[in-house]
Symmetry: C2
Subunit: 303 residues, 2 copies
């Protein structure tokens, strides 16, 4: 299968490398890592076993890549205004577009540009960081839940799930992509935001006796907002406790938004905060703790 | 009148200087500014007119100061565990102790050590910063509301109010010190906390379209918690709008907690956050936005 990876950060590089190792024709749209990867290949230091891909197809522009069967989108959501420019040249009649981005609104933007029938979304639970050019560190997890933007096209999600599973990435098709997105937000909203605002890693937020309960209360706010959306089944409040337990095992993990702030990049505020807050507000669900976090983070970053 | 100033930061230096200029025998307990002030006096750059006090009585220890008529306490609240050591040697049979500190719990701590009948509290609305040693900058305001810890001793508040008024400091005696403290918290909680957490001045918090309404919502939370306390009269919600309007005129003011954080000092978390939150909780009033702010600030500072 011919696959293009657009947005080759830690997530795009890791999944692209796995798909290539699994026997696919993977083509990476590269910027920072172009020289290193085209000259020396791509090294994955992974908790599941390190590996090196000697020959990696790196490109500077989507036109050079051409039409593919599947586009895997790993861009930061603040770059979504470049979808047409970066993805358009890759899309032919049979192309499917899978966004592995965080938050809400990514599938909608892709559907508006390329047609809803070819859009899939994946919710990735991946701990990875970029290293030096040509190197990606896979620290833990990696599971993907994939679903289609149009529920009636569920078979396409099954095929993409098989593609990843065959490449050694745990991947399941889910019938309710919207619910999967909100489940991920239950983790992303409190931890990405709080870590980015306080400049502390996950374990510091959980070790502090004042922030630990606030993190859980924010999770419950997100669950309540989620359950006011048209989901196939509600998210139980116990999911917050599962997420806290899960996070207790993460150690000093730095969520992507903390890294973005520390490295001076824009933050994915709309996808992770403003669209979920708007969805809550539209459904009459106030999220006072999350709104406070989002506002203070915005103020801290933009002044 | 013989007056000792304990805690000669921006607030203690400014009010002490005004009281001395007004003809009182003022004795300053000094640490950082001792050499500069005993050698060259104290300079006040004030929006109400600059002045210089050539001869200022600075001391290194409270024992050298001895018993006074009035102790003015300007310590940071995190130094309250030094009350006995710093204030004890100044207190004789007729001594009164006036705390101009922020937040809740200061009068109670002084009353437990020195007897409730001699304790007064003042709520100071003062914009001041320390400059180089021997220099204090008075940027605006300066009004004090003074009350007694024991309501039946109101006459003592009137006398202290007259003392400050005669020295050119606007000062009124109030019948309900608790209410005055909570009114001050309506400003202090959102602005001290949000500015310290985001490292932004007051005008940045108000200019940001997301944080501006959150600031007001936090004010309303504090007003609701205040009105669940035994106040003589409730604080109206319109007080929040007054505080916002007042703050719109402050420009890039840095509240004391922001300066404390930027200069690496401990923050007055208990007096400004934890005691008010506990008082709200004890009265069944949740303060979700304030609790979020306090927890994240604590985590940002302590890790």
């Amino acid at each position: 299968m011919r696959i293009a990876v657009v947005g080759a950060g830690a997530l795009g590089l890791y999944y692209g490398a796995m798909l290539q190792r699994g026997g696919n024709d993977v083509r990476f749209l590269l910027r920072r890592d172009y020289e290193a990867i085209t000259a020396r290949g791509l090294t994955v230091y992974s908790c599941g076993g390190d590996f090196h891909l000697e020959s990696v197809a790196g490109f500077r522009s989507p036109a050079e890549i051409g039409i593919v069967d599947l586009v895997v989108v790993g861009l930061k959501a603040f770059a979504n205004d470049r979808f047409a420019e970066l993805i358009g040249p890759l899309v032919g009649g049979g192309t499917q577009v899978l966004t592995l981005q965080n938050g809400l609104g990514n599938e909608e933007a892709l559907a508006a540009l390329f047609g809803p029938e070819r859009v899939l979304g994946g919710v990735a639970f991946l701990c990875s960081n970029r290293g030096e050019p040509g190197v990606v560190h896979h620290l833990g997890a990696g599971r993907i839940q994939v679903g289609t933007f149009l529920p009636e096209r569920q078979a396409a999600a099954e095929r993409v799930a098989a593609l990843f599973s065959n490449a050694g990435v745990e991947c399941v098709a889910v019938p309710d992509l919207r619910r999967a997105r909100w489940e991920k937000l239950v983790w992303n909203i409190p931890f990405n935001g709080s870590c980015a605002l306080t400049l502390q890693p996950v374990d510091a937020l959980l070790a502090n006796q004042r922030s630990r309960p606030i993190i859980r209360e924010m999770m419950v706010e997100v669950i309540t907002a989620a359950n006011a959306q048209p989901l196939l089944s509600p998210i139980p409040e116990t999911f917050a406790d599962q997420m806290i337990s899960f996070s207790d095992g993460m150690g000093p993990y730095r969520p992507s938004m903390l890294i973005d702030r520390q490295e001076g990049r824009p933050l994915e505020m709309s996808a992770i905060f403003y669209r979920p807050l708007d969805a809550g507000q539209a459904a009459g669900v106030p999220l006072p703790r999350v709104a406070t976090l989002a506002a203070l983070l915005d103020c801290a970053v933009t002044g």
